[in-house]
Symmetry: C2
Subunit: 250 residues, 2 copies
DNA sequence: CGCATGATTGAGTTCATTCAAATGGTGTGG
DNA sequence: CCACACCATTTGAATGAACTCAATCATGCG
């Protein structure tokens, strides 16, 4: 299915840089997108693919972009997970979003990126020149409308994260995160109910606004409650619905 | 300037209901909008005004809408302040946004409002039937593009709130809130540096994710540091730039 | 097999919460 | 005009959740 991209990853590693670029690659012409908002037709995807680059980013490497940097592209996650982060003056880092396949990212303010973006696992991304995309959208009102709906969807998603941060304790926040992970087939086996946690304790901590140690303790808490079972540090058996109930999020 | 709306408030109070409606009122044809994203031309405002209602909502009354309720309108704040709130299963309430004049609100998911909205002070709002607005936007790509930009702006605003909640302690969160208030001339006198806090301790607490008592204590903290001076519980003298520096937010 | 990295555990501390009580301001009715 | 009642704000004290720093334990890689 995505074999083509595996080749790209290899290429990226070969040339030693963290980010490799190829121009003019088509959107993967399947329609397996999550119900995450932007559901384009095949034709629309093809049209869009005419002016996007495909890039590969390794997890360990430098950020995809850094807050304050000049913003001339918008990114789309094809494979992998990207974390949007913001660093405040005191040096404290806060994750503002986790971008899964199907998500767009690269918000700008006054032509500069508002956040940094880092691949938390190896990724393949599509990259759109923002000017071209804007012109295209104005010439295709119905597609633009889908982007508007997607943006509204993203507001809601960010608000949801805000609710999670403001109203739940760490164990519940972790529960929500784990359930969210279970929504991604790449990491969750519906049959065995086994989840492979895709990101490190530290990245989870960033995401749910706590420290890596506290994440570990919260995992203990959930395990003691019988909501999860730890096989290895990254393999968990999950009771999805009990976890969701415990989180007390709607 | 907004005298016309003062009459409306009176009307609302007279008929005893909390929300009064009048159809077909024009957008106030000034161009004093904040740099909050959607900056329409006079012509565009006039076009939009052709299908909006004007409603008045009192601070003490029932919510403007409730989460889960059928969503067929989008709202625009003309005057006043509205708080978007979400209640989770445990009953805990979390504010997701404070809407000031110039802001849109009324996000829906599957045709239902995702949050509740309550006027925290008396408000006048414009109300747009969502279907008509959507059709209109598709027929006016450039206006739709402004709405898209506005939505992107709102994502950023929500992310900013997320950063505030995740990375700052209560005193700093309060500092940010106070500085934000100072951005609104209705409540802040630039000459005397006097701010009239427009909303209650409890609503502030909701907004910055803490309790009313803790808000009071945080005010004490800021006063001891010499960043603000309390004249009455609602009148503060503010050292804007010092406060902003203290908050350590960018 | 040993090192490096990440995960886990422990102990002490800090920050914010909760519950209870006191104070202050506002508006109403006498 | 005053007194009272009501509501919001403020203060106090005890509790608890999560953080930090340090040490120990796995896991994977050379």
């Amino acid at each position: 299915m995505h074999i083509w991209f595996d080749m790209k990853l290899t290429a990226a590693q070969l040339d030693g840089s963290n980010m490799s670029v190829r121009a003019q690659h088509p959107w993967p012409l399947e329609d397996d997108e999550e119900a995450s908002g932007l559901d384009l037709t095949l034709d629309e995807k093809t049209e869009l693919s005419h002016f996007c680059d495909v890039i590969s980013v390794g997890a360990k490497g430098p950020p995809i972009f850094t807050q304050g940097q000049h913003a001339d592209h918008v990114f789309y996650v094809n494979e992998g997970i990207v974390q949007g982060r913001h660093t405040i003056r005191s040096g404290v880092r806060q994750s503002v979003a986790l971008y899964w396949p199907g998500d767009f990212f690269g918000l700008a303010r006054d032509g500069m990126f508002f956040n940094s973006a880092e691949a938390v696992i190896d990724c393949t991304l599509y990259r759109y020149p923002i000017r071209k995309l804007e012109k295209f959208l104005i010439s295709r009102p119905r597609i633009q409308h889908k982007f508007l709906m997607k943006a509204v969807h993203d507001i809601r998603k960010t608000q949801r994260q805000l609710i999670i941060m403001g109203a739940l304790d760490v164990a519940r926040r972790l529960a929500v995160f784990l359930v969210d992970c279970c929504g991604h087939r790449e990491y969750f086996d519906t049959g065995t109910q086994h989840l492979t946690i895709p990101i490190s304790r530290h990245d989870i901590a960033d995401h749910i606004g706590t420290s890596a140690e506290t994440v570990t303790r919260a995992i203990n808490t959930l395990e003691k409650k019988g909501l999860i079972r730890r096989e290895t540090p990254w393999k968990l058996e999950i009771k999805t619905s009990e976890l969701l109930a415990f989180s007390s999020l709607d």
